[in-house]
């Protein structure tokens, strides 16, 4: 087979974004997946978005990625979470049809000119003097490449647990790829162990829907992609809610001795924010009920995903537990829930470009780095693809900063801090949350994406158009005024309870939390919801954003204070041994990154700063 610039191993959410990014940037790319059909497969709940995650999906979209586009083509239920809270923390979540999503991804990939897809499995990689040279597949043999992105998910030593039964595996039906894993284990990469779980799937035909409360999607339906179209939306269907009860909890408690979690079989650390139902019942013993979101897996399947009860209890206990729940009295399980334990490579062995520190030209992205979630995977895949392509083109690497994108927060957290549990994005991880919003991901990133060659004409023109309209409207808002006692002022007070005591511009009025754009007496009907969101947020957050920007400038100073690679922490007198150990193992690249390490005190940062300045002075 020909040689390639870039080879991406794995066709999950990280893999497809990496391959697509490379191809869009014009490098000759090969995507290797052991089954063409499962490219773009959603292995767990078929939902995209949610708090912090939709932010990532939209950033990937703003850089021309696939995820949000495929979502808009396959979603069957949309909801904006935190809709009653401020713009910055609102998050779109879409339930998709699993099959349609996969097909949409595969169609988008087929349209890429520089991309070849190979169905094969990678058995080994060829490394010469610390640099990746080629991959070896079972059927095609050796394929040469300048850069390789590895996105193989939980392939490392995965063990599935159902009750006390275990079998090796990744997802149900997929063989774990162990030869490559062994090869990588022989390298000096640090390895950690995690676990995650999934609930049993239910047969929708056997659910008594009349007993569940309906949860309709939002109308009008929101969009995930900046270039999305409401006309492309699938038929929208409802989700439902039911709850566990004391009987459910009793069944779970009675079966704990057969749970691998509680019988000591599982060693991996699970996510605190997404506990199994066993964990919930044990940890929140005082609560008599937990919510279950009953979500459809697609339009043409009766399979149902009961969100909130992931479990690894034995099959009999799972069935008993399910049937104790209102509406599920007669329900059949189509697939058992299970817990999976897997190894991941400590992301602290990666650089910010996601290139590994031990093998040049090899990049890791996705669950292999200890993250969970499709969006987290997609964001890393995109960034690994971009940086591999930039290196191939002899250009400067690029990773957005923490103040520019959630993608930046994600990568900086991973490579600086590593992770002890499956890493999921939250808005609270972003210091500059008010700036990093769903409504402005394109304003933050699309220009850069265009420069890099990631953004097609459609998105680019749409973005330019939005930028112009938004600017024009902001200007117009400053000229339109409302006088006190006027008819407009009275209507405004009637609608919002806000009084106009002196003549105010619309711009000034929009600063008040209670006044929304549509409350204003004149408004531009041609503006899209996205533009209005952006305008409102810009105005309402202005004061706070100003404060955050000052903070960013201050931090940038520390970010620019590079810690020399040769710095010997033994020579920085005054550091406690503990701090010294932490710094020596983390080797932060800048003062700002050092300050984000856990357990590094401000005093330690001062010592470091003084030391660096002194060394610089000595060096002249």
């Amino acid at each position: 087979m020909d040689s390639f610039d870039l080879i991406v191993i794995g066709g999950g959410h990280a893999g497809v974004e990496a391959a697509s990014a490379g191809a869009r940037m014009g490098v000759k790319t090969l995507l290797i997946s052991h089954k063409k059909d499962t490219i773009g497969q959603m292995s767990c709940n078929p939902a995209i978005g949610g708090i912090g995650k939709s932010h990532l999906a939209k950033e990937v979209d703003a850089l021309g990625g696939l995820m949000a586009k495929a979502t808009d083509l396959s979603a069957i239920h949309y909801r904006v979470l935190n809709a009653t809270k401020g713009q910055a923390v609102r998050a779109t979540r879409a339930q998709t049809d699993r099959q349609l999503y996969r097909e949409a991804i595969q169609d988008l990939l087929k349209a890429e000119e520089n991309l070849t897809i190979l169905e094969d499995s990678v058995e080994d990689i060829v490394v010469e003097s610390g640099t990746i040279k080629a991959v070896i597949t079972s059927n095609t043999g050796e394929v040469k490449a300048k850069k390789v992105v590895l996105t193989t998910g939980t392939f490392l030593g995965g063990i599935m647990h159902t009750g006390l039964e275990q079998k090796p595996g990744g997802r149900i039906g997929d063989p774990p790829s162990n030869i490559l894993a062994q090869k990588l284990r022989a390298m000096p990469f640090r390895v950690g162990r995690l676990k995650t779980g999934t609930p049993p799937r239910l047969d929708g035909e056997t659910i008594d829907w009349s007993k569940l409360s309906e949860q309709p999607g939002d109308t009008p339906t929101p969009l995930m992609s900046y270039t999305g179209n409401k006309e492309d939306h699938q038929k929208q269907i409802n989700c439902h809610i039911t709850r566990t009860n004391t009987e459910t909890h009793k069944i779970i408690r009675d079966s704990l001795d057969k749970s691998p979690l509680y019988s000591g079989v599982i060693e991996g650390v699970g996510p605190r924010y997404c506990p199994s139902i066993e964990d919930k019942v044990v940890r929140y013993a005082e609560r008599s009920s937990h919510q279950i979101f009953v979500e459809p897996e697609g339009l043409n399947t009766n399979e149902i995903y009961p969100n909130g009860i992931s479990t690894s209890l034995p099959p009999e206990a799972q069935l008993k537990m399910i049937r104790s729940i209102t509406g599920f009295e007669e329900t059949n399980i189509t697939k058992q829930g299970y817990a999976i334990e897997y190894d991941f490579f400590d992301p602290r062995d990666l650089r910010h470009s996601l290139e590994t520190k031990h093998i040049q030209g090899l990049y890791f992205a996705g669950q292999i780095n200890g993250t969970t979630g499709y969006e987290e995977a997609a964001a890393q895949g995109l960034m690994a693809g971009i940086n591999a392509a930039l290196k191939i083109q002899n250009k400067k690497e690029w990773t957005p900063g923490r103040h520019e994108a959630y993608v930046g927060v994600l990568i900086d957290d991973l490579v600086t801090l590593g992770t002890k549990e499956p890493y999921r994005m939250f808005t609270s991880r972003a210091e500059y949350r008010l700036i990093l919003r769903e409504d402005n991901a394109d304003m933050r990133l699309t220009k850069k994406g265009r420069e890099l060659g990631l953004v097609d004409d459609k998105l680019w023109h749409k973005h330019l158009d939005k930028e112009k309209q938004s600017k024009d409207e902001l200007r117009a808002l400053k000229t339109r005024k409302i006088k006190p006692e006027s008819k407009e002022a009275k209507t405004l007070e009637l609608d919002t309870g806000e009084t106009v005591a002196a003549t105010k511009t619309h711009h000034e009025l929009l600063k008040r939390p209670a006044i929304k754009y549509h409350n204003l007496p004149e408004h531009n009907e041609t503006l899209t919801k996205n533009i209005i969101d952006e305008i409102e947020a810009e105005i309402k957050y202005a004061g706070y954003v100003e404060r955050q920007k000052t903070e960013i400038t201050r931090l940038q100073k520390n970010e620019n204070t590079k810690i020399p690679k040769t710095l010997d922490y033994e020579n920085v007198i005054g550091l406690s041994n503990e701090v010294r150990q932490k710094l020596m193992s983390a080797k932060p690249e800048s003062l700002a990154r050092a300050s984000r390490l856990p357990g590094i005190t401000p005093a330690a940062i001062s010592l470091l700063m003084v030391h660096i300045k002194k060394e610089r002075k000595l060096a002249g």
Binding site: L81, K85, N571, I573, G574, A603
Partner: protein, 435 residues
């Protein structure tokens, strides 16, 4: 590169019974050994001969070794006690310099103590304050700061804010977990508690800052209303010349008095009148006006028996009617009535001065504090108040989170600022020598 060893006298310059020289850093033990002989056992005060590099005895004294981190700076420290003669002190320091130490910068011992995590910033500041304390209360106040009591209060408040932030962040990131209204109500309550707490700290700190900085009170008024008599009355001695001739006081005369632990400087000034041709008197009046600008408080004195209403010289001043002992009939207006010559009403006047200056009689001795602390506390309070008003309407939780974070950062600045070299430099430069 080795971190440097520093040396400086720990006692004031000049002749005295005993002087102490402090050496801190990796070479301290070695230098101490060379000068004083064997000193390996920590925390043991040992008599010794103090010798120079030619093995000649310079003095006889005591030496003590503090092994890092159990020392003031957190590093190895040697203290040499010699006779308090500047020549001897210089000889010993020169010896230490020859052996690789360098002279400590002002505040450097305390700076190292802070950098080595022995004390936090508020504590470090209190060391300088303790040295500079002018009244007994200021000494006690500085010790409250040094002991970490003040820092502890700040840290407790920070811990509470962190808990509040956890609740708010959880409500933002886990919206499906249904945050009940009680949670928001208890957030408001808790934030209000912290506002109260910080307000208390601010009141204490204002008092504490005055204890540290002192209070400047200027006595202002027309000629011959008894300003100088009032100064003498405060000082309880005849500092200013008193006569019936208007314009007797030409220059500024001041008296320092301890009022409730606060060092107060009263400044008597030249009487203000128009039409004077005397260039010395005119200069005196200019100085009086300058003194007002630099003061915390102005006492505007008028003659009670000769008062027919007038334009106030200073809007924020306290109006004092003097010579009430000579007054016949009704009081001429609203204000404080005293007689500087009989002492009548003086205690009430002092109470009023304290109250106006923000001193709270009966307050427990507060931690000695600085304007920097008050500024941080006020900013934190402001942010908390903003968060409470934002909580009225649940739609702005992300802004509530901003405010809480901002309050937390402001409080943190008091004890452990995110390293800003300038701030640290400024704080440690206040030490006059070594320490």
């Amino acid at each position: 590169m080795d971190f440097e060893t520093i040396v400086a006298p720990a006692t004031a310059p000049g002749r005295s019974g005993v002087a102490v020289i402090r050496i801190s850093g990796p070479l301290a033990l070695q230098i101490g050994g060379n000068i004083c002989g064997e000193v390996s056992q920590p925390m043991l005060l040992r008599p010794c001969s103090i010798k120079n590099s030619d093995k000649k005895t310079v003095d006889r004294g005591l030496v003590v070794f503090f092994k890092g981190p159990a020392s003031y700076t957190g590093e190895d420290v040697i203290e040499i006690h010699c006779h308090g003669n500047p020549v001897i002190v210089d000889l010993i320091i020169k010896e230490a310099l020859l052996q690789g130490a360098r002279v400590a910068e002002p505040g450097e011992f305390t700076k190292r103590s802070f950098l080595n995590d022995k004390i936090d910033l508020a504590q470090a500041e209190s060391v300088a304050d303790l040295i500079a304390a002018q009244t007994d209360s200021a000494v006690l106040g500085a010790n409250i700061s040094l002991s970490g009591e003040f820092s502890n209060k700040i840290n407790v408040c920070i811990a509470t804010l962190v808990n509040l932030r956890v609740v708010v962040e959880a409500a933002i990131d886990f919206p499906d977990e249904e945050t009940p209204d009680e949670d928001v109500r208890s957030l408001v309550e808790s934030a209000n508690d912290q506002i109260q707490f910080i307000s208390g700290l601010i009141r204490g700190s204002e008092h504490g800052a005055l204890m540290r900085e002192g209070l400047g009170v200027v006595i202002l008024g027309a000629p011959n209303v008894g300003k100088s008599t009032l100064l003498n009355c405060f000082a309880k001695e005849n500092l200013a010349i008193v006569s019936d001739t208007p314009g007797t006081t030409r220059d500024l005369i001041s008296a320092n008095i301890n009022l409730g632990g606060v060092p107060v400087e009263f400044v008597d000034t030249a009487g203000l009148r128009s039409g004077s041709q005397d260039s010395i008197e005119i200069e005196g009046m200019n100085r009086a006006k300058k003194a007002v600008e630099n003061s915390n408080l102005v006492l505007e004195v008028v003659d009670a028996k000769d008062f027919h209403g007038f334009e106030r010289l200073n809007e924020n001043s306290l109006l004092v009617f003097n010579k009430v002992d000579l007054l016949e009939g009704a009081v001429p207006g609203e204000g404080l009535f005293v007689s500087a010559s009989t002492g009548e009403g003086i205690l009430e006047l002092i109470d009023e001065i304290m109250k106006t200056a923000g001193l709270h009689p009966g307050i427990e001795i507060p931690a000695l504090s600085r304007r920097r602390h008050i500024l941080c506390l006020e900013k934190a309070k402001e942010s908390l108040e903003e968060s409470v008003s934002l909580l009225k309407d649940k739609s702005s939780l992300e802004l509530v989170a901003e405010c809480l974070l901002s309050a937390q950062i402001n409080l943190g600045e008091i004890t452990s600022p995110v390293s800003s070299d300038d701030l640290l430099g400024e704080i440690f430069s206040e030490f006059c020598i070594g320490k």
